[in-house]
């Protein structure tokens, strides 16, 4: 009897067939574009392909050249400085704005719209606007000087040592609104009773935020950090629009190096090697996180 009953067991592959069919675009994207494209890139980074991909292997030559190139090193340094600072500042500013917005204030909608609107603008637009505002001959420096402080100097975009901060200002302007939104959503999700308990315990507001609320918002922070970090690694348009990597090479970033060498220098091999290095960096940051969040047997919710 059991034998006859077991005969009814359908093919495993056909179960959830619709779901599988519907997921084909995702599977294809994941496998062909992301995995395939990545492997392809890594593979060709060991060749000396120029304008067109060519199968002439040169071992690690491209990598040696990459790490010997001052521009790449500068780009990596810039990315580190920009990345760390923009992570810190956007979290701090975003959180502080969210905390202020969470005080049952009037005009909340107005303030929120003001903080969020730059996010609607492209990096190209952001870069142009800030290039303009920071321009020493027209922008803030000129205006302050014309008001009498003639020795006032604020010229980040043409000062190699601080140009990256000029880019940071624009990036924060564009991105903190979203961070604030995420944080606000997180704050609104905190159990009201926690606040009450802290008040009964006589814990001052700032300590409640610092020691109780922020640790409780860990998931929100993780989501936010992931979103910011993925943007940081990709930063390109903003630099191109604001400084084109200048003055000199002082605001170069890795993504721009990749692009320039792949397309302008017509040295695909070098570009691929640089992208591979970026991928490796990303992987080191992301894979452990992705594993914790989505692998590791953690299920719904």
């Amino acid at each position: 009897m059991t034998g006859q009953a077991r005969a009814g067991r359908p093919n495993k592959l056909l179960r959830n067939l619709n779901a599988k069919i519907a997921s084909i675009p995702m599977i294809l994207t994941a496998l062909v574009i992301f995995v395939g494209g990545t492997l392809w890139t890594v593979f060709y980074s060991f060749t000396n392909s120029k304008l067109l991909p060519r199968l002439s292997f040169v071992g690690f030559d491209q990598y040696e050249r990459l790490w010997a190139a001052p521009r790449w090193v500068t780009a990596i340094e810039n990315l580190a400085v920009y990345g760390i600072l923009s992570l810190i500042f956007s979290l701090v500013i975003g959180f502080m704005l969210a905390a202020l917005m969470d005080q049952k204030i009037r005009f909340e909608n107005t303030f929120r719209t003001i903080f969020l609107y730059p996010f609607a603008l492209s990096f190209i637009v952001t870069g142009l606007v800030w290039q303009w505002v920071l321009n020493p001959d027209f922008g803030i420096q000129a205006v302050v000087r014309s008001m009498g402080w003639t020795s006032f100097t604020f010229n980040p975009l043409y000062t190699p040592e601080i140009v990256i901060y000029g880019i940071l200002i624009a990036a924060l302007w564009q991105g903190t609104g979203l961070v604030m939104c995420l944080m606000l959503a997180g704050l609104r999700g905190i159990d009201e009773d926690i606040w009450k308990a802290a008040r009964v315990d006589g814990i001052p507001m700032w300590r409640t935020y610092l020691f109780i609320v922020i640790p409780m918002m860990r998931p929100v922070f993780i989501t936010t950090i992931v979103i910011i970090a993925s943007g940081i690694v990709k930063v390109y348009d903003l630099v191109v629009a604001q400084t084109s990597g200048g003055p000199g090479i002082s605001s170069e970033v890795p993504a721009k190096y990749v692009y320039d060498y792949m397309f302008q220098a017509q040295n695909l091999g070098q570009g691929f090697a640089a992208s591979t290095m970026m991928l490796v960096t990303v992987a080191i940051i992301i894979v452990p996180w992705a594993y914790l969040e989505f692998g590791g047997g953690r299920k719904r919710g």
Partner: protein
């Protein structure tokens, strides 16, 4: 019952002898309208708001000035004489090479690119998110993890392989190709949003629908979709702004007669004819950002709600 007197007097309307209030504070704590706290609070917010508004102000003001006035130098001073000529020029006259029809052409191209791309990428991602949340199959989480890691890959890395793939399929340079590209790169973050949102919906709803006999598509279309407005708004906003603002794909995967507005903007801003016409550039910049800005202003409130529903839970 000794304390019958202290019993709440209004309870049933008997003996309404209101006890006298004691000395001292009574009623709500006094809260002055102008307290130190409020000054700090609104002061900080206002200063922050000024920082965020400043560039917009500069853009608008500059775009309304004539070039002579701009040369005088103060970018913050309001225009002495308002002129809309820069706007007209940016929209209809600015030149790139031989084409002197300003942004107007790019605008319609952007519309033609954005509308189908947004619809298709959201359609694909929402189905993905739904399948991942409710119909997990062997390997689905793996594909999803790949997708998420893919969100971090710099676009430049992927351009070359994608050019090759699109060439092989034969849709390189077509609108279809661009839509495919936008759908691909929109997929990771949108899928994440939709997945998290659908996961946060009660699973029992899905089970009930299955018991009721609804299949994959019926559940999606008739049960899940009607409940997903907030997350669709978020996805829509993200995609509209993302695709509208895209420059790289627009320039790599289209041809000049279908260039989107951002490429046109870049062309106008970078095609310097003698001196930079900052007023025209600013007007062009505002015009380019107008569509996503309007989308934000109109649906900002839903955006925050949707973010709370889709992004923060993880």
């Amino acid at each position: 019952m000794a304390d019958v007197g202290t019993l709440n007097t209004t309870s049933a309307g008997i003996d309404a002898v209101a006890p006298k209030l004691g000395e001292g504070p009574s009623g709500p704590r006094p809260r002055p309208a102008v307290s130190a706290r409020n000054i700090m609070l609104y002061g900080t917010l206002t200063i922050a708001a000024l920082y965020y508004l400043l560039p917009l102000y500069v853009m608008v003001v500059t775009s309304l000035k004539g070039m002579p006035e701009i040369r005088l130098g103060n970018i913050f001073s309001p225009p002495m004489e308002i002129t809309f000529e820069p706007w007209v020029k940016a929209w209809a006259q600015a030149c790139t090479g031989l084409n002197c029809d300003g942004l107007s052409r790019g605008f319609w191209n952007s519309v033609r690119i954005t509308v189908p791309s947004v619809i298709i990428s959201i359609a694909i991602a929402s189905v993905n998110g739904y399948a991942l949340a409710n119909w997990r199959f062997r390997g689905s989480e793996l594909f999803f993890s790949i997708l998420i890691v893919g969100a971090f890959i710099p676009y430049q890395v992927m351009i070359y392989p994608i050019v090759i793939i699109l060439r092989e399929i034969g849709i390189y340079g077509t609108l279809t190709g661009l839509i495919v590209v936008h759908s691909i790169f929109g997929m990771p973050i949108l899928t994440l949003l939709f997945r998290n949102y659908f996961v946060s919906l009660p699973e029992e709803l899905f089970k009930a629908a299955r018991v009721d006999g609804a299949g994959f598509w019926q559940i999606f279309l008739r049960i899940m979709l009607p409940m997903s407005l907030p997350i669709f708004v978020v996805a829509m906003i993200l995609q509209v702004t993302g695709i509208w603002n895209d420059f790289l794909f627009g320039v790599v995967f289209t041809r000049p007669d279908t260039y989107p507005m951002t490429v046109q903007l870049n062309n106008i801003v970078n095609s310097v004819q003698g001196v930079k016409e900052y007023n025209v550039n600013m007007a062009a910049t505002i015009l380019t950002g107008l569509v996503p800005l309007i989308v934000y202003f109109v649906s900002g409130r839903l955006f925050v709600r949707g973010i709370a529903a889709g992004a923060v839970k993880g």
